[in-house]
């Protein structure tokens, strides 16, 4: 007898019940990762090409494949509280080689976004936000560099927000729209007093 295409209904039901099989798994997490990363993490079949391509893997316990599995299984706490989450250099080597055309790097980025919403974030990331809010630049100008620029025949400050601070209110408005600066300030203050 020819088999029907796809799973018989009963089997499909059984599988859907088994899909999230741990107490602490959260199906919402899988959906949130997919929405933010805009990539198909659930297609991962755990081949490990990502970890094999990762420059951070040989020198740490960071395993991108593990994070991919956590995305699929909805293991939110396990993923977001793992300090290795912040060791991805976002080099996209894993994404270049993934045979399922997933972008694992963007899965990591989405998990970092979700971690930030729970105040889990290294301070250096927040300091970049603060720097951009105050001068428009993540790496601002300094006096040594101003003198060097002058010698090269350039303006002391580059023709960016540095030379045209009148553009700063617009930038602050955009960041404030998301209350990002206030959040960054709050978390930095909690950590550093």
């Amino acid at each position: 007898m020819a088999r029907t295409k796809g799973y018989p209904e009963a089997l499909e039901k059984k599988l859907s019940e088994q899909r999230f099989f741990r107490e602490d798994s959260n199906p919402e997490f899988t959906k949130n990762v997919k929405a933010i990363s805009r990539t198909i993490a659930h297609m991962c079949y755990q081949c490990g090409t990502c970890t094999g391509s990762c420059p951070s893997a040989p020198r740490s316990s960071y395993r991108i494949r593990k994070f991919m599995r956590r995305a699929v299984l909805g293991l939110e706490n396990e993923a977001l509280t793992d300090p290795d989450l912040w060791l991805c250099t976002t080099c996209y080597s894993c994404s270049d080689r993934c045979p399922r055309d997933i972008i694992p790097t963007d899965v990591i980025m989405s998990m970092r976004n979700l971690a930030f919403k729970r105040d889990i974030v290294p301070v250096n990331f927040l300091k970049t936000v603060q720097a951009i809010y105050s001068s428009g630049h993540g790496v601002p100008n300094n006096d040594v560099n101003r003198a060097a620029r002058e010698k090269l025949g350039l303006t002391r400050d580059p023709p960016t927000t540095h030379m045209y601070p009148e553009y700063m209110p617009g930038i602050r408005k955009i960041i404030d729209h998301y209350k990002l600066k206030a959040e960054a300030d709050r978390i930095v203050k909690e950590r550093e007093g």
């Binding site: 805009r38 976002t90 972008i103 990331f125 970049t128 060097a148 090269l152 009148e166 930038i171 955009i174």
Partner: protein
């Protein structure tokens, strides 16, 4: 050819590290590109791209809006953007691409931009100067070769492509197909050969510099350990210099060598130059004109060989 030999004009998006740490990259790019018929016009009021790793990790929605603001500034000038940094390319090119193709993202960004009287329209393109140099639609290898007055003959130079210009290649849309090869590309080596130097291959060429994704700020030893591995591979080939097309990679290799010396006790003294600086040298600009004295690692050994 139009007036003054200028064929193309671009809004020059500077980013942070080039103007604020390696200003020679900025001045060399402007001068060298002008000799090749490309004028770089200042993009007034631009901000940080913002940093794709450090800023994007916090909240991608804000990241899109901030990058869109920079894009709108160029849209208002009715000019395509040219930039010199892979990190900036990731933010500016990729956000431009995403906003052009995803209405939901575009609408969300425009809702915020409305508060500052801006609207993203998706009317411009974004290019890395390395792409402009390689693509004969704009400049091309032959034209570069013709512009050289001081060929860097005898210098063994390796290329660090970096990550965010070419990866992930599945999302990139270069006109030159060879630029989509991210396993073992050689188009930058063609540029190095065009200025008279000898391009050198080395082990694991496409590996990351280690600085990206906020890792330099989060765990500097981890970041430097990646850099150190690349430096070991480079020294095996006895190269005279490393050239990059990303000021952030340059910072990691150049200032990073000083940090590696402090933390790991290893000394390499390998000069690290942005390709714009090398091109400037080959076109006859002086090291002072290029601000090479601002580098953490002295470029003297290379200069003695080629000047």
């Amino acid at each position: 050819m139009s007036e003054n030999g200028i064929n193309h004009k671009f809004a020059f998006y500077l980013g942070c590290i080039a103007p604020n740490r390696y200003p020679g990259v900025e001045s060399a790019s402007i001068k060298a590109m002008k000799k090749l018929g490309v004028e770089l016009v200042p993009l007034k009021g631009a901000s940080c791209c913002p940093a794709p790793g450090a800023f994007g990790s916090i909240d991608l929605a804000v990241f899109y809006a901030m990058a869109a603001r920079n894009l709108v500034l160029a849209e208002q000038m009715k000019m395509d953007i040219a930039l010199v940094c892979n990190g900036c390319y990731k933010s500016i090119w990729e956000v431009n691409h995403k906003l052009k193709h995803n209405k939901d993202l575009r609408d969300a960004v425009n809702e915020v931009l409305k508060e500052v009287d801006m609207e993203y329209k998706g009317t411009i393109n974004v290019y890395h100067t390395a792409e402009l140099l390689y693509n004969d639609k704009f400049i091309g290898v032959d034209k570069i070769r013709d512009s050289v007055t001081n060929p860097l003959t005898g210098a063994r130079i390796a290329v660090h492509y970096g990550c965010h210009l070419v990866k992930p290649h599945k999302d990139r849309e270069f006109e030159k197909e060879v630029m989509l090869n991210t396993e073992c590309p050689t188009w930058m080596e063609e540029l190095v050969a065009a200025i008279g130097a000898t391009p050198v291959e080395y082990r694991n060429k496409m590996m990351c510099c280690g600085a990206g994704g906020g890792v330099r700020g989060y765990d500097i030893v981890h970041a430097l350990d990646i850099t150190n591995e690349k430096l070991i591979n480079l020294m095996e080939e006895k190269v005279d210099a490393l050239t990059d097309i990303c000021p952030f990679c340059q910072l990691q290799f150049d200032r990073g060598q000083i940090e590696i010396q402090e933390k790991f006790g290893k000394t390499y003294n390998l000069p690290v130059l942005h390709f714009a600086e090398l091109l400037g040298l080959a076109q006859g600009m002086s090291p002072q004109e290029l601000g090479l004295d601002l580098h953490g690692i002295s470029c003297e050994p290379l200069l003695q060989k080629v000047l």
